[in-house]
């Protein structure tokens, strides 16, 4: 029988089966992952014409390419002849792909260039075949997004208010450009993808899950999510949300404080920024980077960029890399080092988050309580000056935003 999402997703609680039911996972692929805009990478990963790198959209093996005329495209890694992989290497540079099985060749934009022994097809150019292309590809601040739906909201419409957060990130570069050139850690968790997404938006867990590292490093991060914090959780709409730490940073009013350092440590960077932004630089350097979850799979935690890839109802791969700021060599080494220490399989933060996702998934096997509670902060939510719903730093406002958008997509999908 068909899943009743309106019953499973309620304003203050969601049902455990959403994380364990293979049928629901299959529907999510069709209604979310192969329909809405999903982030697959960044243009800086294919900087030169001919550059390519293999990426994934859920189970789809796609090749992100840079064509001769500089266009970034996404091809499906499946030969039009008999379905062989046309690309085995993880990355490289080539204007064309050659399938090893029978030697068919394709331009890196997907067009079939040729096939050996063409008389078997009545000669050259007789086949109106080519590599599958992701129907819609668009970028914002260099982040590459894919949609398998030929029609639907534009990327700008999809991003909505989240776009501004990507702008804030890019603005931290003296050249206004982020680069994701440090390669990716790929971290596998035995957990449903939504447990990762919710964790990313969750300001309630850091003091507990990350207390071990906060205590030994004397990190101030815990405090940012404490009861006293003036930081807020903001539902940006469209399933996007942010943990807005700026109120705390503004209070401290320390340029570069958001990065746990001071102007003195990164003089060239600060100089460039002040030269470029004048008065406004102070604010930029104080407010720092965003902490935003872009539905459904892009998470930016100040210095780290995560892209979530669901691989099974109970398995997810979290890809993560360090933010690199174009024109800020002084910053980039620090950004990388801090990111490497925090994220991935051995990260002092993410390893423990991942342990939580996995225990969470195992806990879901229990028959009761059937529900997950998401009511935290319902009673103290308010609407900010821009009309966004906001809660306290450790409220579940972001999750509720996620779920209402999720429910919309899943029911819409059912309707179609």
């Amino acid at each position: 029988m068909t899943v009743q999402y309106s019953e499973l997703i309620q304003p203050e609680r969601v049902h455990g089966s959403l994380y364990t039911d293979p049928e629901i996972f299959a529907e999510e692929l069709e209604r979310i992952w192969y329909r809405t805009w999903v982030c697959v990478g960044h243009v800086s990963e294919v900087a030169q014409p001919g550059d390519y790198v293999r990426k994934n959209v859920a189970a789809q093996d796609v090749i992100m390419t840079r064509s001769a005329d500089g266009e970034v495209g996404l091809l499906l890694n499946r030969c039009a002849h008999r379905g062989n992989l046309v690309c085995e290497d993880r990355r490289g540079n080539s204007s064309a792909f050659r399938c090893p099985y029978h030697g068919w060749t394709y331009r890196n934009t997907g067009e079939l260039l040729g096939y050996p022994y063409n008389q078997g097809y009545g000669g050259k150019n007789k086949l109106e075949l080519g590599l599958g292309r992701v129907p819609r590809v668009d970028t914002y601040q260099g982040f590459v997004f894919a949609s398998f739906a030929a029609e639907g909201p534009t990327l700008k419409e999809h991003l909505g208010a989240a776009a501004g957060e990507l702008d804030r990130l890019a603005r931290l570069s003296p050249e206004g450009e982020v680069e994701l050139t440090a390669g990716w850690l790929r971290h596998r968790a035995k957990a449903n993808w939504k447990l990762l997404v919710e964790n990313e938006t969750d300001g309630y867990h850091p003091q507990f899950v990350h207390g071990s590292v906060f205590s030994v490093t004397g990190s101030p991060i815990g405090a940012l999510y404490s009861d006293k914090s003036t930081a807020v959780t903001r539902d940006l709409g469209g399933g996007h949300s942010e943990n807005d730490l700026r109120p705390e940073f503004r209070r401290a009013a320390r340029p570069m404080g958001w990065f746990g350092t001071s102007e003195a440590r990164v003089p060239d960077y600060v100089a460039k920024m002040r030269a470029l932004h004048g008065e406004q630089a102070e604010e930029i350097l104080i407010e720092g980077a965003p902490h935003v979850m872009v539905f459904p799979n892009l998470f930016i935690a100040e210095i780290s960029v995560f892209m979530i890839q669901p691989t099974a109802v109970d398995e997810t791969v979290q890809n993560v890399t360090a933010v690199q700021l174009k024109g800020a060599p002084e910053m980039n080494g620090r950004l990388l080092s801090q990111c490497v220490g925090s994220v991935g399989p051995a990260g002092m933060l993410l390893a423990d988050d991942s342990e939580m996702y996995e225990r969470n998934q195992r806990g879901m096997a229990a028959r009761r309580p059937e529900w997950l509670d998401i009511r935290r902060g319902v009673g103290r939510e308010r609407i900010d000056e821009n009309g966004f719903r906001i809660g306290a730093a450790n409220d579940e406002t972001g999750m509720r935003g996620f779920w209402s958008h999720y429910r919309g997509l899943m029911e819409e999908g059912a309707a179609r």
């Binding site: 971290h187 071990s212 030994v216 791969v317 980039n332 990388l336 220490g341 342990e355 195992r362």
Partner: protein, 158 residues
């Protein structure tokens, strides 16, 4: 002082392995020199750790932080700790760099925890230094055979 020969090196590597397997965090940390470097590359053996992501890239002070975190007992990814044993084999002395002796070895590590059993394997490069009449670890690089694939959580001492 003479550079250590194979037997002594193997004894040291077996000890290092045992301390790690048995979560003897202080004992393991004490093996390191002050200029220690502990590196687990990601995405292949030959990345540049100063420009590319690594699974672990710890200098001495970060090793201390990592150990301190484990010792809190609230490093949940290792609390409860993994049950594990690693075999160090094919130990080869590959050369001398300054005062350090460079050795390489292969390993397999079988990890059991509630998540299930995980098999880890790879090649390790060690830089060993004689300090007084003991040996210290100045450098350890662990190249996992599956460093190009998605990895499970690796919060124990590898």
């Amino acid at each position: 002082m003479s550079s250590p020969e194979l037997g002594e090196i193997e004894r040291f590597l077996y000890r290092e392995a045992r301390l790690a397997d048995e979560h003897d965090y202080d004992g393991w940390e004490a093996l390191w020199t002050d200029d220690a470097l502990y590196w687990v590359p990601a995405g292949g053996p030959d990345t540049d750790p100063r420009s590319q992501m690594s699974v672990i890239y710890d200098n001495r002070s970060r090793i201390r932080t990592r150990i301190s975190q484990l010792k809190t007992g609230k490093r949940y990814s290792q609390s409860p700790p993994s049950n594990m044993r690693r075999l160090i084999s094919n130990v080869e002395v590959v050369g001398v760099e300054g005062t350090d002796t460079v050795a390489e070895a292969n390993f397999v590590l079988v990890e059991s925890r509630e998540r299930g059993t995980t098999l880890w394997s790879g090649r390790v490069t060690y830089r060993l230094r004689r300090v007084e009449d003991d040996i210290r670890l100045a450098y350890k690089k662990v190249v996992l055979v599956n460093s190009a694939e998605a990895l499970s959580t690796l919060a124990f001492l590898i």
